[in-house]
């Protein structure tokens, strides 16, 4: 039913750039298709062979209306809105399903085309309710927009039996359905099946009775389900949390970066006044394409609850609101009276700490004579086993864009579906389109691709990579060990939990030895098959900035603890009598231990740098002002340093970014990935393969998934009502599907 065109948006981009990507095409085996030339509306345009005609028209600057066609999905060709006239063709052709032919003459703006499209539109509107005023899609509705151009102002269609009526489906706490509005473009079905891996969504019935659904009563259990709301060209699928909240033209749109995982998805924050109304994906082909996961999209309501809006000082067993001066002064007194000296001053950086504040905090703590800079993770007190000297030892070196090229992927102690849902969709794509094979060493998970479970523990990693048969495995043609040996572009993805775990050094030793032994396959100018998958937005930046303890500094018992967004902290690591400062935006776990809470800004409220798991630094932007008395995080640290008496030497963001440049130029080279040389990568791997002699041998304790509840992983998503509902519905599987009668009574019959 569905045809595939490989030529996607990348063609348009290449055309826009006017040339092919340099250097890489020379050595990769990707076929380069011959270019063909055709004429669109009298304008000559050259596109690669196999391009859909609609793409060629776009390239020629002719806008073609469409409903079912989407350049990241398979082609369905069922809405017929994209009809164009082709010379010597007896009737208009659907340009999305027609390959561009050399020398053909295409017309997109003739009376025939207009009449054809008007006819299609009339049929679509025949069964479409006239409820635009109460429809959430209003203002961003493809059908509404295109009916302005091609719609008739009155109907010629009086069906005695009435308009088609379809009952609404309950897909869960995120997607709201109004199925009467559906025009059966099947974009959601194609997305769910091809990208999200929800094979339960489909079409039932036929002809006029065709409807979208799951046939049985079921929720759409996917971390990517929110994207079908964007894809829906009409108001059939709208957002439940955003229902009747705002109209698109009221919203201020700010392009920013997501921080709820380490992928660094590009987002657009839509705000009204001081409130974030919704979060939408922003297209970035190198990272998230056009998708974002549901946590990124819907955790924004957590920004409204549990916020720290004013400095708080602990008095006895309660927090008392205080002025900034009072709070800062209390910290100065606390630092003095705790008697903390040198490494007894400890800083802990959490998952959502931005790069600027990490750099400022490191400089501040260093100035106080301490090297005790730890990360909010298990064994965060120890220097990371990856080291921080070689970037390629802790980054996702392969690059998100390139993971699809891998022909065999070995996942070690990671569940990409929860740790990096966007990368997981890329895996799904390569699983479907290029037939990539997957193997997993670690805890089983509900995957959207098939994998061979080749082990569970660190010792299994050693065994598998040294070619020994893992117990109960190694049979049959689809044996992953054989595939792994024959793979041309193998990829090892090591989960951040492995690196943070007790066996991190041993596992990395085994892996780096394997990679070095097969370096012709793993480390080439075009391919780096050794990747660490970080799951916290601040982690790569913390390593880049050297926010790590010196080997001896953590031997002391801290007397003064500074928690920067540290909400996953193990309470036992905070001594009873230490003076604790918490700086962050939510009153979550970390704030409970604080003597003083300093209200910081959340990611939508500050313009800060984020480094994603690939080592790509990106700049987030201010969408709304921080609530109450809260301030940008680096400014708080700067102010505190002055009050404490050792001011850090930068007064504005420009000077701070210069400081970041001094630490690592990659931190402020935005939107690009710095590729290290092969020699450097190998040097890093050699470091990993010769860990200190104290390293213990790999144990047989199975790897554990670091994320058990995808919807509640950080202070923001834990404060979100929507995420709580999702967690209940999808993680705990406690969701009562609203019966049709209930849904029906709430609905008026319009139109």
């Amino acid at each position: 039913m569905l045809r595939r065109f490989t030529a996607g948006r990348s063609i348009a981009r290449r055309l826009a750039q006017g040339q092919a990507q340099p250097a890489r095409l020379f050595s990769t085996s990707q076929p380069r298709k011959a270019d063909i030339t055709l004429t669109v509306d009298g304008k000559e345009v050259t596109v690669p062979q196999g391009t859909a005609l609609i793409q060629a028209c776009e390239a020629a600057g002719a806008a073609v209306p469409r409903f079912c066609y989407h350049d990241r999905l398979a082609i369905a060709g069922n809405c017929r809105m994209c009809l164009v006239e082709v010379e010597r063709s007896p009737k208009p052709v659907a340009s999305c399903a027609m390959p561009a032919m050399p020398g053909s003459k295409v017309f997109t703006n003739t009376p025939l085309v207009h009449k054809a499209r008007e006819g299609v539109m009339e049929f679509l509107l025949a069964n479409h309710p006239l409820d635009c005023p109460i429809c959430d899609q209003g203002g961003e509705c493809d059908l509404q927009d295109q009916s302005m151009r091609y719609g008739s102002d009155r109907t010629r269609f009086h069906e005695i039996t009435g308009k088609r009526a379809v009952e609404n489906k309950d897909l869960g706490p995120i997607v709201k359905t109004s199925m009467n509005r559906c025009i059966q473009c099947t974009r959601c079905v194609r997305f769910a099946n091809d990208v999200a891996g929800v094979e339960e969504l489909g079409t039932t019935g036929r002809g006029n009775d065709l409807q979208i659904g799951m046939y049985i009563e079921k929720t759409m259990d996917s971390e990517m389900s929110g994207n079908i709301i964007d894809l829906c060209p009409v108001g059939a699928l709208t957002s439940k949390p955003y229902a009747f909240q705002a109209r698109p033209w009221e919203l201020k749109k700010t392009e920013s970066i997501d921080v709820l995982d380490a992928v660094g998805s590009n987002i657009r924050v839509d705000s009204r006044g001081v409130q974030v109304m919704r979060i939408q994906p922003k297209i970035n082909d190198e990272i998230n394409e056009e998708w974002i996961n549901d946590k990124t999209r819907y955790a924004y309501d957590g920004l409204k609850y549990q916020r720290l809006t004013t400095p708080l000082v602990r008095e006895g067993d309660r927090f008392v609101p205080a002025s900034w001066e009072h709070a800062m002064d209390t910290i100065r007194h606390g630092l003095q009276s705790s008697g903390a000296k040198g490494d007894e001053i400890k800083a802990v950086a959490g998952h959502t700490a931005d790069t600027e504040s990490l750099v400022a905090l490191k400089d501040f703590i260093n100035r106080l004579g301490s090297e005790n800079l730890t990360l909010d993770q298990s064994l965060g007190d120890a220097p990371p086993v990856t080291g921080v000297d070689v970037r390629s030892n802790y980054l996702f070196n392969t690059g998100i864009e390139n993971v699809g090229e891998a022909d065999a992927v070995l996942l070690i102690g990671t569940n990409p579906r929860h740790e990096a849902a966007i990368i997981n969709t890329r895996f799904r794509k390569s699983y479907l389109q290029t037939g990539a094979e997957f193997g997993l060493i670690g805890e089983d998970f509900d995957s959207v691709f098939e994998y061979d479970h080749v082990g569970t523990s660190p010792s299994d990693v050693e065994a598998f990579l040294s070619g020994k048969a893992v117990k109960g495995k190694g049979k049959g043609e689809n044996d992953f060990a054989r595939i792994w040996k024959e793979a041309k572009k193998p990829l090892i993805v090591v989960g951040s939990a492995v690196v943070e775990g007790k066996d991190g050094a041993a596992v990395l030793k085994a892996i780096s030895k394997h990679v070095l032994a097969n370096e012709k396959k793993f480390v080439t100018p075009e391919w780096n098959g050794f990747s660490i998958l970080q799951r916290a937005a601040s982690r790569a930046a913390a390593y880049d900035a050297g926010f790590t303890p010196s080997p001896t500094s953590t031997n002391t018992t801290p007397k003064f603890v500074y928690l920067l967004n540290a909400d996953e902290i193990d309470p036992s690591t905070i001594p009873e009598n230490a003076f604790v400062v918490y700086q962050g935006h939510h009153g979550d776990l970390g704030a409970q231990f604080a003597d003083v809470c300093l209200p910081g800004a959340a990611y939508t409220e500050k313009s800060s740098t984020w480094v994603n798991t690939e080592g790509r630094s990106q700049l987030g932007r201010v969408a709304v002002v921080p609530p109450g008395a809260s301030r940008e995080d680096w400014k708080i640290i700067r102010a505190l340093s002055e009050i404490v008496g050792s001011p850090i030497p930068y007064d504005d963001i420009i000077q701070l970014r210069q400081r970041m440049w001094d630490i690592s130029p990659t931190l402020v080279r935005y939107d690009v990935i710095e590729k290290p040389s092969l020699e450097f990568i190998k040097l890093g791997l050699q470091l990993l393969s010769t860990p200190p002699s104290t390293t213990k041998a790999a144990s047989t304790t199975p790897f554990k998934k670091p994320i058990n509840d995808f919807y509640r992983t950080d202070a923001i998503s834990r404060a979100s009502v929507t995420m709580a509902a999702c967690s209940k519905a999808f993680t705990k599987k406690e969701y009562d599907i609203a019966s049709v009668d209930e849904a029906g009574s709430a609905q008026a019959s319009y139109a």
């Binding site: 069906e159 009435g162 094979e199 079409t203 019935g205 049985i216």
Partner: protein, 250 residues
């Protein structure tokens, strides 16, 4: 045009306007004839187990073997039919699930097929499943299918789409079954009963009710779709091979 429109709207007002509602603001909704979503009932839910029996499993494997192994799912339609036959003539959700499991395809892909085609009955049917063709040729041919429809309705006391109380008959209207030359016709189970008249229809129904199986085919006594007035051509004995050829070829 305007006459037609006013005519139409008057028909519309007369037919569908609900009391107390003005046609200006609302139009009636056209609901589908059958439900295209599944609702769990005590007779149709995924917990009722269904498995192909040994004989049918053998048949199923034969059917699957007709297709290349990577396109195993191509066997979905014959397997659904097989399941429907084993499951007393209807395709329950369990039949669909069993087929999906056997073919290793997502369940929804099977549901899509089963809801697309009208001959997969997703509700239980009686042992005598009457499918009366009411498409134009049957409506016009012979005595006309309208008469047959009335006959069946009055004789069994049910409307199309219903089953008799005794559970012996289910009666539906269907579109063309491809026996137009023997119109009007109906299908009972797998058999065609053609050239129907009200009398022969009642005879068939009575026989079916008794548990007998009347002879399928044209009820007028003619052979298949031969001319009922007797043959007009090809009446002689057909000649054998080479009969009129040169002697050496005979």
């Amino acid at each position: 045009m305007s006459v037609a429109r006013s005519l139409l709207s008057s028909v519309r007002t007369a037919v569908v306007r609900p009391a107390g509602r003005r046609a200006f603001t609302s139009s009636s909704s056209r609901l589908s004839e059958s439900l295209f979503v599944h609702r769990d009932t005590d007779y149709n839910n995924p917990n009722i187990s269904f498995e192909f029996d040994a004989a049918n499993m053998k048949r199923a494997q034969e059917i699957i073997a007709r297709y290349p192994p990577q396109y195993k799912k191509a066997a979905v339609m014959p397997l659904l039919d097989l399941g429907q036959r084993q499951n007393k003539g209807w395709t329950s959700i369990s039949v669909m699930n069993a087929v999906a499991k056997l073919l290793e395809m997502p369940k929804m892909r099977v549901y899509e097929v089963a809801t697309f085609y009208t001959m997969y009955n997703r509700e239980p049917v009686a042992p005598n499943f009457l499918q009366l063709c009411t498409t134009t040729p049957c409506q016009l041919g012979g005595c006309g299918s309208t008469k047959i429809l009335e006959t069946i309705s009055t004789h069994l006391g049910i409307e199309p789409g219903q089953s008799t109380k005794d559970g012996k008959f289910t009666f539906i209207e269907v579109e063309c079954l491809g026996a137009c030359s023997n119109a009007p016709m109906m299908q009972v189970g797998d058999d065609f009963y053609e050239d129907l008249t009200p009398e022969t229809t009642i005879k068939i129904l009575d026989a079916l009710a008794k548990g007998e199986k009347p002879k399928p085919g044209p009820q007028s006594g003619r052979m298949t779709s031969e001319n009922s007035a007797g043959l007009t051509t090809l009446t002689g004995k057909p000649y054998g091979p080479g009969e009129f050829c040169q002697p050496e070829f005979q």
